[in-house]
Structure formats: C-alpha cells, structure tokens
C-alpha cells in the first residue's frame, strides 16, 4: 500500500493506518493503530491505538493508548504511553510516562520519568526524578537527582547517582532522594540513596545514604555522613 501524508492543522481526527508523514498541529486525534515513517506533534495529540514509526517528535502533549515502537523519539513537553515502548534512542524533556516496560539503546530524560514495569537500556541518563516499578537495568546509569525518586531494583555495570543543587524550598518539600530495594552493579557510586541492599565490585557510598547492607568485592569507600548497617566483603 502506498504511504501518504496525513496533516491535521487545527482540530481534527483521522483513522489509523499506513502513512508516510503524520503531522498533527493543534488538536488531533487518531483512531486505531498507526504505522508511519514520521510522527510530528505540535500541540495536543491522542492515538487510540499503538504507534509504529521511524521518528517520533512530540512538542506539546502526546497520548498513546497502546504501545510504541520507533527508532528515535524526541519529546519536549509530555508523553503518556499505555503499553510498552521499544526504541533506539529517546530524549524526553519534560514528562514521560510509560505504563508498561521500556526497552531502548539510549534513554535521556530531563525532567520526570514514570515507568510501570521494567526499564532496560544500554545507556540511561536522568536529570530530574524518576519512578520505575520494576527493574531498572542498564549498562551505564547516570542520575542527577532533582526530586524524590524510586525504583524496585537497579542493576547494571556502572551506576552513578548524584544530587544536583536545588532550592531550599524544594529541599524541604521534595527531597532529592532515591529509594530502592536492591542495587547491584560492577561500579556503584551513590549519594542520597536509601536502599536495603547494595552489592558491587567497587562501591562508593556518598553523603546522605542510608544502606542496610553492603556487599562488595574489590573496594569500598564510605562518606562519614552515610549510615550503613552491615558490611560484608565477598
């Protein structure tokens, strides 16, 4: 089937299907699954199905009821996806919410990220705060904490959690802290993290951490201000 362009400027709706470029400026709604090369949203868009695309660019607000499969995803504003996401590279500036799990090569988030299931990537960079319902699994994880964050488990090769400076008011009401059950990695660097268990080869526990149990193999470094329960060298 031939791929044609779909352009909605202003308010409008269309059915899903096979397209080349889908451009929604204003208030657009698509009924059904869409398969396109490029999806561009400027404004407010809702898809009552799943999205398959090469490139997804959302400036404004996007809501996908189903899952999303794409190569590149760039969001400035907010995106909400009802099921799983699979992509190569994603950059979210603003707010990203995925009900299911997220699989990607690279994920960059500036702002807020909420994932219901697991998140796995080769590289994951967050500047802001996040919630992961399941396992956050990445080769390289770098988090600059700007607000309360949570994950059930974090595992990977290099895990770096640091706090960014924030305003006094924010510090009182939304402390930039990470709460997690288990962290496991080859090289782990933590700040302002509360965890039941941290395991790694080289572990560095920085200021503001409360860790119930630390197991390390090669090296352990602890900040004076960190509270650590039991330590075991294995």
């Amino acid at each position: 089937m031939e791929r044609r362009d779909l352009v909605i400027a202003g308010t409008g709706h269309a059915s899903g299907g096979l397209y080349n470029l889908v451009k929604l400026s204003g208030n657009g709604k698509l009924y059904g699954d869409i398969d396109c090369l490029e999806l561009q949203v400027q404004g407010n868009a809702a898809v009552e199905g799943s999205v398959k695309a090469n490139m997804v660019h959302i400036a404004g607000k996007g809501h996908v009821a189903g899952g999303m499969e794409c190569e590149w995803m760039k969001v400035s504003g907010s995106v909400r996806i009802g099921e799983h996401v699979q992509c190569q590279e994603a950059t979210v500036r603003g707010h990203g919410e995925v009900k299911g799990s997220w699989t990607a090569e690279t994920v960059r988030v500036h702002g807020e990220l909420t994932i219901g299931g697991d998140c796995s990537a080769e590289r994951m960079e967050v500047e802001g705060h996040f919630t992961v319902g399941g396992l956050l699994n990445a080769g390289y994880i770098e988090v600059k904490l700007l607000g309360p964050s949570r994950a059930k488990e974090i595992g990977g090769e290099t895990i770096v959690i640091k706090r960014q400076g924030s305003s006094l008011l924010k510090k009182w009401f939304f402390p930039a802290e990470l709460t997690v059950d288990v962290i496991e990695g080859d090289s782990v660097h933590l700040e302002h993290t509360t965890a039941k268990m941290v395991r790694g080869n080289r572990v560095m526990i920085g200021p503001g951490c409360r860790i119930e149990r630390v197991e390390y193999r090669d090296a352990l470094e602890c900040d004076e201000e960190a509270k650590i329960g039991t330590v075991e060298k294995g």
């Binding site: 796995s120 699994n137 080769g139 290099t158 059950d181 288990v182 990695g185 395991r199 197991e215 294995g234």
Partner: protein, 209 residues
C-alpha cells in the same frame, strides 16, 4: 521433581562473571526472564536460578561469545525456531538424526524435499529419545504426531515435553512454561525434556554444518 536452585550470589562466585555481565545478558535476552526466580529470604527478596540450566547456559555463552555477537547468541537461544529450511539430503549428510529416523522421515514426507525447522525439531527430539532407549519406535511415532499437532501453538514460548508410562501404556504431553508436575502412583516418568534446549542444540548443529 523439584529443580535445584542457585542464588545469584553463588552463581556469580561459581562462574566468575560480574553483575554487569549478568545484567547485560539478561538485557540481551541470553538468559530467559522465567529463569529469574524471586524468593524471599532473611535478607529480603533474592533472585534464584534453576541451577543446572543456568550453569549450562553461562558455560555456553562464555564458550561462544568470542565467535558470535551477543545478538547472534540471543537469536540462537531464543525459543523461536529459526526460519531454516533444510533438504533431506542435508539432514542425511550432517547426521542430524539416526538412519532409522531418517528412513521414517522419508516415508512421512514422501516426495517433499524441504524440511522446516519445526518439523526437523520434532524428529530430532524423538530421535534423541529413541537413541537413549527410553521409548519404543511406536511410542516415538505417537510423540511425533502429538508434536506435529500441538507444537505450532507453543512456538516462540518455552515448553517441556513430558512422557509418562503406566502399566505399559504411554502418554505424552506438551507443557507450556516450566511448572511443577505431579503424577499418580505407579506412573513412571519416562522423559521430561526442556524443548528450548533442543532448539539450541539443533540450531548449533545446523549452523556448524
């Protein structure tokens, strides 16, 4: 029939791999999700693995990872049979199944030359059972027939083949996933095979050819 489990910590010590490697292999789907078994212990939630399977798998990954990329390895371990079609000649040449089963395969397929992976898989598994002397040729044919009619529904999923015998009467079944199995008294568990393991073997066999 309980399988022995190994904790994540023990596994890493025993195999000498790091957390990073384990997580990377999990990400690349070299280790199936269902092998990560969560159990609560006194230190909180811990992850356990089916010991035999995971040790064999890690051994194989270590052995092959210099030759194949992780993605290629993942393709080999996936329970989804490759879209491979072999001809009868090739099967004979590579000695994938014994001569007797080859003869039977010839009879079953008639003039058709091409054999799909799924078809070959069922012959391969039956051949293995026959060779180990656990079943008779007649039982083998029943297993093969059952496989032919039910396996397509399970394709891409992990499943087990179970063969039971009581008072000389044999029954076979395909089980999705890897749950527990409890049989009545007097029934003998003739064989319980993890099908993905054979898929791997067969894929290796074909790619090496």
């Amino acid at each position: 029939m309980e399988q022995e489990l190994i904790s994540k910590k023990e596994l890493l010590e025993l195999t000498g791999i790091s957390y990073g490697q384990l997580y990377r292999w999990k990400r690349k789907k070299l280790i199936p999700e269902e092998w990560f078994i969560r159990k609560s212990t006194f230190t909180g939630q811990e992850t356990f693995f089916p010991k035999e399977k995971i040790l064999a798998r890690i051994e194989k990954i270590k052995e092959l990872k210099d030759e194949l990329s992780l993605d290629e390895l993942a393709g080999m371990f996936a329970p989804d049979p490759a879209a491979v079609v072999l001809t009868k000649e090739e099967i004979a040449k590579r000695h994938i199944v014994s001569d007797m089963v080859l003869q039977w395969l010839n009879d079953e397929l008639g003039d058709r030359q091409d054999v799909s992976f799924a078809e070959l898989l069922s012959f391969y598994i039956v051949d293995r059972l026959l060779r180990s002397g656990e079943i008779s040729l007649e039982e083998g044919k029943n297993i093969w027939r059952m496989f032919e009619s039910h396996y397509p529904k399970l394709q891409g999923k992990s499943c087990e083949l179970v063969v039971l015998r009581k008072m000389g009467v044999t029954a076979c079944l395909l089980m999705e996933g890897a749950g527990g199995l409890y049989a009545e008294e007097g029934a003998k568990l003739v064989a319980r095979l993890h099908v993905p393991a054979f898929i791997e073997e067969l894929k290796l066999n074909i790619s090496e050819g």
